[in-house]
């Protein structure tokens, strides 16, 4: 049991709105052993080095029995793990294959070609703010855009969102180390149902190819691998970018001086968005790595077989790496944050997420005149790993065409 331990405090919902003091406490012991033998690593260089260490596995079936094995599907789902939960060579084969229709060198234009449609989505979502004096940034803006984007990328019908929304949520929640009593079970059921839905869709695409990468991948992947990949990408596309857009909005509304500057200097978008990814990363930590050998880190030996948590959000605020780390500072130079992780498991969707952020954030603040946050802190989702506001109610004072 981990109750009373620092990991229990981090996952405790009471600390969701501001976990950063806990992370600061955690960094005092860069490599901390919990009573159950799990190791939490929280300082920048140690996290970065471990994420690039071939002795660390993302395949949780390497853990001794008795430990949680996030990412390992129950047998009845009939699905292999998504590639984020695999190691090379399986990982490299899957990721390289999936990348072929998605990014360079084979498809350098794929994401760029989505810009037009996504811009239209942003415009429509913002047009709907007309005449309102308040809005929920999550429901009205930050959630619909990434869902549309990932549907376009995969070739999943946007209209099916009510169908798969619940499954994606349940799956994301099961990544939370303490997802509630039946969270794991619900997660497995959701994976099975979402997997079945996507398998059907993939089968249809095999017979009638359409736009999107699932169609493009049907000749190159087994149905099970492709379905597992589709589950992973749909959930990841669903549950992370929404938080990135919302966190950016929240952070800017909390820093009116920087917001004012941003409205005068649109070029600030690039460093500003990177700084949000450091300051409020949408994936706060990963719980699914395991030591394959004894690993010496900062004077501590992590024994072979230990579960290892890499605390990205804590590392992003390590004062040894980032000067004055709790300050939100878009002028920060050399901002090599871990918001998208690092190493071979660096976020596959990062280029898509950046495109979405760069289409959404400047346009939001160009068009919407905000008069403040209606709740600060806003209500958060339960999930401690994929952390972000459930709602972000804001007061609005007009809309520019």
């Amino acid at each position: 049991m981990t109750s009373g331990t620092i990991s229990a405090q981090i996952t405790d919902y009471a600390n969701r709105a501001d976990p950063y003091p806990l992370y600061a406490e955690l960094r005092k012991t860069p490599v901390l052993r919990e009573d159950d033998g799990t190791y939490l690593v929280s300082t920048y260089y140690e996290v970065r080095n471990l994420a690039n260490d071939p002795r660390l596995s993302n395949d949780t079936s390497n853990r001794p029995s008795g430990y949680a094995r996030p990412g390992q599907p129950a047998e009845e789902t009939g699905l292999p793990p998504g590639f984020i939960f695999t190691d090379p060579p399986v990982h490299d084969r899957l990721r390289d294959t999936v990348n072929r229709p998605f990014g360079p060198p084979h498809s350098p234009r794929f994401l760029d070609d989505l810009r037009g449609e996504l811009t239209k989505v942003v415009t429509e979502l913002l047009d709907a703010f007309e005449g309102k004096d308040q809005a929920d940034i999550v429901e009205d803006f930050a959630y619909p855009l990434p869902v549309t984007a990932i549907c376009k990328v995969l070739g999943v019908p946007r209209g099916d969102e009510p169908l798969f929304h619940g499954w994606a949520d349940a799956l994301a929640s099961s990544l939370d180390p303490h997802p509630g009593d039946d969270g794991q079970e619900k997660g497995q059921r959701a994976r099975q149902e979402l997997g079945a839905y996507l398998s059907d869709l993939i089968e249809t695409k095999r017979r009638h190819p359409g736009p999107g990468i699932l169609s493009a991948l049907t000749p190159d992947m087994t149905p099970a691998d492709l379905a597992a990949t589709a589950v992973l990408l749909l959930v990841a596309g669903h549950e992370t970018t929404v938080n990135a857009i919302t966190n950016t909005t929240l952070t800017l509304l909390r820093h009116p001086d920087i917001l004012e500057r941003f409205q005068k200097e649109p070029d600030l978008a690039v460093p500003l968005i990177e700084e949000v990814l450091r300051y409020e990363p949408p994936v706060q930590f990963v719980t699914w790595t395991t030591a394959l050998a004894d690993i010496d880190v900062a004077g501590t030996t992590i024994p072979k077989g230990s579960p290892v948590w890499l605390m990205l959000a804590a590392a992003n605020r390590d004062p040894r790496r980032f000067e004055d780390p709790d300050r939100f500072d878009p002028d920060r130079e050399d901002n090599e944050h871990l918001g998208f992780y690092t190493g071979i498991h660096y976020c596959f969707g990062a280029p898509l997420a950046r495109i979405e952020l760069h289409l959404a954030v400047p346009e939001l603040f160009r068009r919407v005149k905000f008069s403040g946050l209606l709740e600060d802190p806003p209500p958060y989702r339960a999930n401690a790993v994929l952390r972000g506001p459930r709602h972000l109610p804001v007061a609005i004072d007009g809309l520019t065409p």
């Binding site: 080095n49 690039n52 260490d53 071939p54 002795r55 660390l56 596995s57 190691d87 090379p88 060579p89 490299d92 394959l292 050998a293 004894d294 072979k304 190493g343 071979i344």
Partner: protein
């Protein structure tokens, strides 16, 4: 006057001259300004262009994805320099503290930085080298000329030497759909840099991409037609092939001739300097006003038995330039050593090749991740029981880890389990480097040694 006041005066009103206006020269100049040097700065370069980047010249430029003229190096800041481009430095007068230029001008200095780099080793026969169709590849001009020739319709290209540059040229030509013959004197491509075990993988890669690869073969003569165009190459096995283009990729020569007679320790192996980039004179006494950085410099490295290493690596040029610049305008205790771990990369035949450390020092090799057969792996080199280098094919993201293993002198072979380990136990093999007495073209690291058996006097003081 104390040393500290000297430095203060130098920073305020000193004259710094940089000879060699390429990557190392530019980054040094920028660092000088960044660190508060307010005196005069002169940049001398024999090429007529402002500093440009070379790696794309054998890759994107040949494929037509970038124009050779468009590879100017991005500037980090304004350096407010007096540029003397298109005129080479011809001599160094240490007594008068000035550089003589080829056009007769003289440029006085308080501190001098030597970043003259290397040039391509030309085809050994001058008349044959002058044939229309015979190329080397080092400069922007070389790349532009070769591009034009390839675009003009060519049936077969001969690449002489399968080191990194030669292999990249062969790769680009194949991608352009041209027939390519590669003649390599050694037993396999890249053998000088990575050894025969990895060379065999590069060999397979080239053949699979349709290269007519001929190893253990020298080109003995290039033959022209009556109007001076290349038409045939003769090989050491007695055969001949019809070619219109030959690219001599025979490695680099260090640009040190202009230092002859100056009394600094400069020769064909480069300019010897200490870990702080201060150049030695021929007596082995360190100068305090002359510095060197980049491809032309060689300095002792503590991780490699204090061997003097000369590194033709992009990253080394940048870092050594920054260290040299820092040390030029600092007093003793603030100076920093250049402890860069050798690192280079190449991209050829769709594979990213990367190496850290000094593979050619290795006496043992294991494939720690992946397999040679899949052409996707990390090979780790050991030297006397510790990790000395690693090389990857499409595995560059792991090399940061092995870099730390090298830096901390980790034991070899690595016994721990990793991801993508294909064998239960690692069986070290001989990496199979060629006999060092045989000439090769491939090495991008030159070990120039300091062992007693090599103790030879090669410098003749000018005033003797």
């Amino acid at each position: 006057m104390s040393a500290d006041t000297d430095v203060e005066v130098l920073r305020r009103q000193g004259r710094i001259v940089v000879v060699g206006a390429s990557l190392a020269g530019l980054r040094a100049a920028e660092t000088l300004r960044e660190k508060g040097f307010r005196g005069s700065l002169t940049m001398i370069g024999d090429e007529p262009y402002e500093p440009y980047d070379r790696p794309p010249l054998s890759k994107q430029a040949l494929l037509g994805r970038a124009r050779p003229e468009d590879t100017a190096l991005p500037r980090r800041r304004d350096i407010d320099a007096d540029w003397r481009l298109g005129v080479a430095a011809a001599a160094l007068d240490r007594n008068a503290k000035l550089v003589r230029l080829a056009n007769g001008d003289t440029v006085p200095y308080d501190r001098l930085l030597i970043t003259t780099g290397t040039r391509a080793r030309p085809w050994f026969h001058p008349e044959e080298a002058g044939l229309d169709g015979v190329f080397v590849l080092r400069t922007r001009g070389d790349s532009a000329r070769l591009c034009r020739k390839l675009a003009g319709g060519v049936s077969r290209v001969l690449v002489i030497g399968a080191g990194f540059t030669g292999s990249e040229v062969a790769s680009a030509c194949r991608e352009l759909g041209l027939e390519v013959t590669v003649a390599e004197r050694g037993p396999a491509p890249l053998v000088g840099a990575l050894g025969g075990v990895i060379g065999a993988v590069a060999d397979r890669l080239q053949r699979r991409h349709g290269v007519d690869l001929r190893c253990g073969i020298s080109v003995t003569a290039l033959e022209g037609d009556d109007v001076g165009r290349l038409r045939r190459a003769h090989l050491s096995d007695g055969s001949a092939i019809d070619v219109e283009v030959a690219v001599a990729s025979l490695g680099a020569m260090r640009n040190t001739e202009w230092l002859a007679g100056s009394g600094v320790a400069a020769g064909s192996r480069g300019v010897a300097c200490d870990a702080g980039c201060r150049v030695f004179d021929v007596n082995g006494i360190v100068t305090d006003d002359i510095y060197a950085a980049g491809d032309v410099a060689r300095s002792p490295h503590p991780l490699f038995d204090y061997q003097f290493l000369a590194l033709e690596h992009w990253g080394n040029a940048v870092e050594q330039a920054e260290i040299a610049a820092h040390n030029m305008i600092c007093a003793g205790p603030e100076r920093r050593p250049h402890l860069w771990l050798p690192m280079f990369w190449s991209s050829q035949f769709g594979v990213n090749i990367k190496s850290v450390g000094v593979p050619s020092l290795g006496d043992r090799l294991v494939v720690a991740q992946g397999t040679l057969a899949e052409e996707r792996f990390v090979a780790v080199y050991g030297y006397r029981g510790r990790v000395i280098a690693a090389a990857s094919f499409d595995g560059a993201k792991w090399l940061g880890f092995y870099e730390q293993q090298i830096a901390t002198g980790a034991p070899f072979p690595p016994e721990y389990r990793t991801v993508d380990r294909r064998t239960e136990a690692l069986e070290p093999v001989d990496p199979d480097f060629p006999d060092p007495h045989l000439p090769t073209h491939g090495a991008t690291v030159t070990l120039t040694g300091h062992s007693p058996s090599e103790r030879r006097v090669v410098f003749v003081p000018s005033h003797a």
